[in-house]
Symmetry: C2
Subunit: 335 residues, 2 copies
């Protein structure tokens, strides 16, 4: 399995990004194509232990800057590491692509270069979030800010195919994120989507409320990209606040220092359970190929795991499963 990695993508690139690639080579035996500036890549490889035959470099000295406007970068930086990495998938030289670079550009370039799958109107970002019982998939986490009900139905099909493949669950429970469980609760979008979903041939369990998503109430949670992004970012911000507040309150206690030492392994385990880097990135589903968008702040571990997810998706041919899922879409899309 050969994965193209945008070596210049990520706040800590290229060193941390490349460290993740080497870990993926050593742990999972993946073949990685590092795309980026050779002069910057080579020093990151020097002195490291890895199977030389597993790493190749595709050189380019163009890179997208995080401050670039997505539409401009998409048009004018066609030799950027993001573009070239995605083109390797298009040309069949790589099975999948991972980038922690400018997420708007990765998304747009993936769509532009690889194209949409037949019958998909809007590709969507699928992100894994932790719950008390394990995890769930949130789709769309930010690709489409204004959606139609049929888009949500497609997100259900795409998310289900991905979840099945990655988590080996034959019948994931699909739900719509809404403000009440009854089909009459929600906004116009979710109420209309509900009518479609209940005719779909996947395990649709109805609406799920915000307070229940972390209880493990559903496996695939569907929403428009605006809601999804708000839910995701509110969660990140709140988790950060809670840990900071708890630490501050503990630090204020005379018994706090000792107490903290005694529970520190628990906090470490908690962080591990809720760490985004365990999954490493979010795929753009609905395109003709496998493209993973990783967090800008990705650690080496996040990159390593994103490469693993990319390989897993490519080997399971998730994009073909999505196509298969949507084969009879015209039939399901009757209210």
């Amino acid at each position: 399995m050969k994965i193209a990695l945008d070596a210049m993508g990520g706040d800590f690139a290229p060193d941390v990004t490349i460290a993740g690639a080497l870990d993926a080579v050593n742990e999972f035996g993946l073949d990685i194509i590092l795309v980026g500036n050779e002069e910057k890549i080579n020093p990151c490889l020097a002195g490291k232990k890895f199977n030389l035959s597993k790493i190749t470099i595709v050189h380019t000295d163009e890179a997208v800057d995080i401050n670039d406007k997505a539409s401009t970068a998409l048009r004018k930086k066609r030799n950027s590491s993001i573009h070239l990495a995605i083109e390797l998938v298009k040309n069949g030289e790589a099975n999948a692509v991972v980038s922690a670079g400018h997420s708007g550009v990765v998304m747009a370039a993936s769509l532009f270069i690889l194209g949409k799958l037949p019958k998909v109107d809007r590709p969507a970002i699928a992100t894994i979030m932790p719950s008390l019982t394990g995890h769930f998939l949130l789709i769309d986490a930010g690709a489409n800010v204004d959606c139609e009900p049929l888009n949500l139905l497609q997100f259900g099909y795409m998310g289900e195919a991905y979840y099945k493949a990655i988590f080996k669950n034959e019948s994931p429970r699909v739900a719509i994120l809404s403000i009440g469980e009854e089909d009459t609760k929600g906004n116009e979008l979710t109420k209309d989507a509900f009518k479609y979903m209940k005719k779909a041939n996947f395990n649709f369990i109805g609406n799920i409320e915000g307070k229940d998503i972390f209880q493990g109430g559903a496996d695939v949670i569907v929403c428009d990209g605006f809601i999804g992004n708000i839910a995701l970012k509110v969660s990140e911000g709140l988790a950060e606040m809670i840990l900071k507040m708890l630490k501050m309150e503990i630090a204020n206690l005379t018994t706090g220092k000792l107490g903290y030492l005694l529970i520190k392994p628990a906090i470490r385990n908690f962080k591990k359970r809720t760490d985004y880097s365990e999954y490493g990135g979010a795929p753009l589903l609905g395109i003709n190929g496998t493209s993973i968008i990783s967090h800008g702040r990705s650690s080496a571990k996040a990159i390593k795991n994103a490469l693993w997810v990319a390989a897993e998706m490519a080997s399971k041919e998730v994009h073909l499963r999505i196509m298969e899922n949507l084969k009879d879409f015209a039939e399901f899309s009757k209210k």
Copy 2:
């Protein structure tokens, strides 16, 4: 200051609800009108210490059940404790009303009986949430699931008036909850609302992202009621999950029991800082009067604090300030 309280409202009514009322009498010297079934109210008062002249009872044996359909209860239960309590405000016999009963009915009956303020299109629920630096106001937290840009502008004016009055802040920072800080980021609704907001004569600071709301980045955060409800419920659910997970992880440690004992006061302080009952309820802003919707699970403390907020809002005449704020609304509402 005389506050009408729906004595039958709340999951633990009437005893817990009435206990909160007595605390408000004793701590704040408020006059409370308990509206509900006298036969059930009297035993809750028996043997309690309070100034008898401060409590009066308005009897009714009709009550709204939490499983009633809002529209039906609104029409058919016109003598319910919710209806009668709100009518006391309408008739000038009470300065404000508090109910922890069926929130849909409290909202609809408040609107129906007290009416909207001039120039308000959609009343909205304003809820206080904790942040690292204190707290912020989220408006709309669930009254209006589908909104127009001008509704969001009005929410800004209403939230600002409330925040100013309750928190004695002369220039609260108003922001739109969105998926990026730039005015070009967001969905159609927020992008259009942004154009209105920047012409408004309050301290509009632009968009705020979900991850920044808990950092104290804004005082009044405006969004449609669907988004607001999702953000609120996701936060409640996540906070619950984090505390549960941390406790589980701590319990798994051999040193956990002692460590937990040592940091327990910190967890208590943390809970106090983030406890919804500190503010006790959320007002419906934009109606001609003061009506507070409390959480169904309200503790005595939550009811007590809701009564305090109601008295504070009534004495500051927040509804008149909102009217004043919206006086020149036609001018601000030009893009």
